[in-house]
């Protein structure tokens, strides 16, 4: 038998089936069955009949949006500085910003909790603030990296052309640099927004379990052996993430005409 190149893909296909497709089917199965295993829409009704469930989802959205915006606001100028050869001649600086990612994030978050309390920001009394700080701290590298790599690839001649044609730096930034880095912004935003929506360890540790994001809400039901309702909520989150990926892909395609985004 001749070796075909497509055999090389078998491990990936196997991985895809075992760890992505089958689990998704499990989630769907549990979401639409009751404890006895009979088909039912009860879980769906249960979700929308209690405003708490929807509220938790909305709270998660707020944290995800805020986190994305803050990360972009901090990360964008930073990525520009890092990508600028005048300020940063080696990639050591970039490495420094990415280095926190080398440490396991649970350890890092527990350390953040101690540091915050030590400097007087009580994780119990200002749980919203401390959660936000933790989220931004954890997701900032995910913003810097894609922005940094798109900025490196940026066509410098277009910026010069813009200056030649009489645009001031402000106009150049908004009309030339931002559109050129749009794919980076979109992939950075998706890389922050989606995981924040489902994150829960950070909020659990840094808010003393006072801030409940959708991820920890699902966890609460799984821990209480209510797999069906937990699965339904996981499915809802999966759909929401799917929608946000879809939108972001549309968005990055429109701008560049091709798939340059990471997602």
């Amino acid at each position: 038998m001749k070796f075909k190149r497509k055999y090389l893909s078998f491990p990936y296909v196997l991985f895809l089936i075992c760890f992505i497709i089958i689990p998704v089917f499990f989630i769907i199965y549990y979401a639409f069955t009751n404890k006895g295993g009979a088909f039912t829409f009860d879980n769906l009704l249960k979700f929308f009949s209690d405003s708490t469930n929807v509220n938790v989802l909305l709270i998660s959205f707020v944290y995800a949006i805020l986190n994305t915006v803050i990360c972009l606001l901090i990360g964008y100028p930073l990525a520009m500085i890092l990508a600028n050869k005048n300020y940063n001649r080696s990639s050591v600086m970039v490495m420094l910003f990415v280095m926190p990612m080398w440490i396991n994030f649970i350890i890092r978050t527990s350390a953040t909790r101690d540091v915050l309390n030590w400097i007087g920001i009580s994780t119990g009394a200002n749980s919203g603030l401390t959660t936000m700080i933790g989220l931004v701290y954890n997701y900032l590298p995910f913003v810097i990296l894609p922005l940094y790599s798109t900025m490196l690839k940026m066509d410098k001649s277009q910026i010069e052309a813009s200056a030649d044609l009489g645009a001031n730096r402000f106009v150049t930034f908004f009309k030339v640099i931002i559109p050129m880095t749009m794919p980076g912004i979109v992939s950075a935003a998706t890389m922050v927004f989606m995981p924040t929506l489902s994150s829960y360890v950070i909020s659990d540790i840094l808010s003393e379990y006072n801030v409940v994001l959708f991820g920890s809400y699902i966890d609460l039901y799984f821990n209480q052996a209510d797999w069906n309702f937990g699965s339904l909520m996981a499915l809802i989150m999966l759909l929401l993430i799917g929608i946000s990926v879809f939108i972001s892909r549309k968005f990055s395609k429109d701008e560049t005409g091709g798939r340059t985004s990471l997602w």
Partner: protein, 582 residues
Amino acid sequence: MKKTVFTLILMLGLSMGLANITKANAKSKFAGSTLTIYNVEDYISNGEDGYVDLIQEFEDLYDVKVNYYTYDTNETMYNQFTLQKEGTYDLICTSDYMIQKMIKQELVIPMEDYAEKIPNYEKYASKALREKLKQMEVPYQGKTVNLDEFAVGYMWGTLGIVYDPTCSDTICEDVKSWDVFWDPKYKDLISIKNSIRDAFVAGLMHAYSQDETFQNIKNAYLENPTEANQQRYNQLVQDIFDFKLDGSFESDRENKEKIARVKAELISMKENIFGFEVDSGKNDIVTGRIKLNLAYSGDAVFSIDTAEEEQGKRLEYYVPEDGSNIWYDAWTIPKGAKNIELAYLFLDYLSDPINAASNMDYIGYTPYIVGDELFTLAGAWYGATDYAVNCEYLAENESMVIYENQLYCCIKDKPADLMIYPDNEEYFELCAYDPEGEYEEGDMVSYDGKIYHYVSEESGILDAMEQTEVWQEVEAYDLSYLFEGTLSEGRSAVIYPFLGYENKLQTQYPSENLIARCAIMNDFDSYNEQVVIMWSQVKAYTNMVPVYIFLVVTVVVVSGVSILYVTRKHITMKYKKKMSQK
């Protein structure tokens, strides 16, 4: 007097272990078989820091292999256990309510005759505690059974409050009531276990202890603590804890009202506390980040010891007077277990007072098993006890013993097999009051058949008239309700605590009065789902107004910007088209 402790059983266990190994080589009935155990994390003496490794010892003793698995919460255990195929585990250790649930679902099998299969348990398990298990009833295969028929008790304790006695002037009064968690004085200084059932206890007791009938029955008991009044009070707390499961409309309404009341209580409590905790509470109270912590008595022992060792800080534990939860962890044999006989053997091994003492030494929780060895260990930790000739005493612990109404202190290690009495001057020193002697704070002496503490820094004499100034008579702490029938003959179950150790002793071994105010919290049964929903609502409760405003503003801004963007693009396109047409 400062006590360095915690090593007593170490040597005890080692010497016994060696003796056992030689003894057991003959009976290799189980040689080569495997026992699979599922237990809570860190819930057995495991050989760390020089403690006895009970599992290893059991393996060596009977030439068997033990597969030891652990879990973090009862719910995780239930999830994992029900997912595995039958016969995966031979023994599971879990909490009272979970055992109830598993019996109801016929997931576990009844124990056979204790006297025959687990003689140590029959002999050394505290009768009072087994009585409590017998009170927990549950339907099984169409008849009513009790937990004692299914479960071999392991550890037990109460739910209470660990607190820093220096955090306010009135704290010692405040912790007597569950109101303390709602008290704005302690805002952001309290942490609560992130566990439905424990928070539920606090919410329930706070809600119902305000009721007039509750106050009446409680006051009747406090004023006149007769058996009848005590029973009435205990029954009342039990009724508050229990859901009515007869299925009638009226009970259902009452149960729902109960859940609603707890929900309201917990939401208002959430505003006042620092937060919920899974495992951080016992350390946070040591470092002082929080001042009050809802804790199990066993964890309280850990916190109190750690605070004293690491920070030189004093913590105390108190079970609020209105009433609280008393809990039991016990071993059960799941249905389909492959090695039942070996499981019985392991339970018998754990029920040996020596091994139970090793466990208490390592874990800090209070075992179900009572007996001379445990009483001696409690004595080494907390105070003077009657002398038992068959127990080991270590000089390092400065163990205080009482023999023929005189107090003695151990000055040389006395092994368990050396049958001598404290009048042997090589091993023991008499601590009777000496008018010439110099004493410092915390010293204990016997005088005229009584035990006294030296409580002052100044010198003083022990005299009938003046004794209260510098000498304080030590109040006897009677544990006979627990140890009844298991101590060697003539040994009283009374401990005279060292100065400042009363609270620790009460944490480890609650008094009979305290237990009378505590009730078991039965499984929520069909109301479990509603309680989970209630809990998720409490956890997720927050002021939603800013969230709504934020989302509305975001939606408006985003849609405004996109409309602007699209229309501008449209206009530009039109303009470009026009230009190209020209």
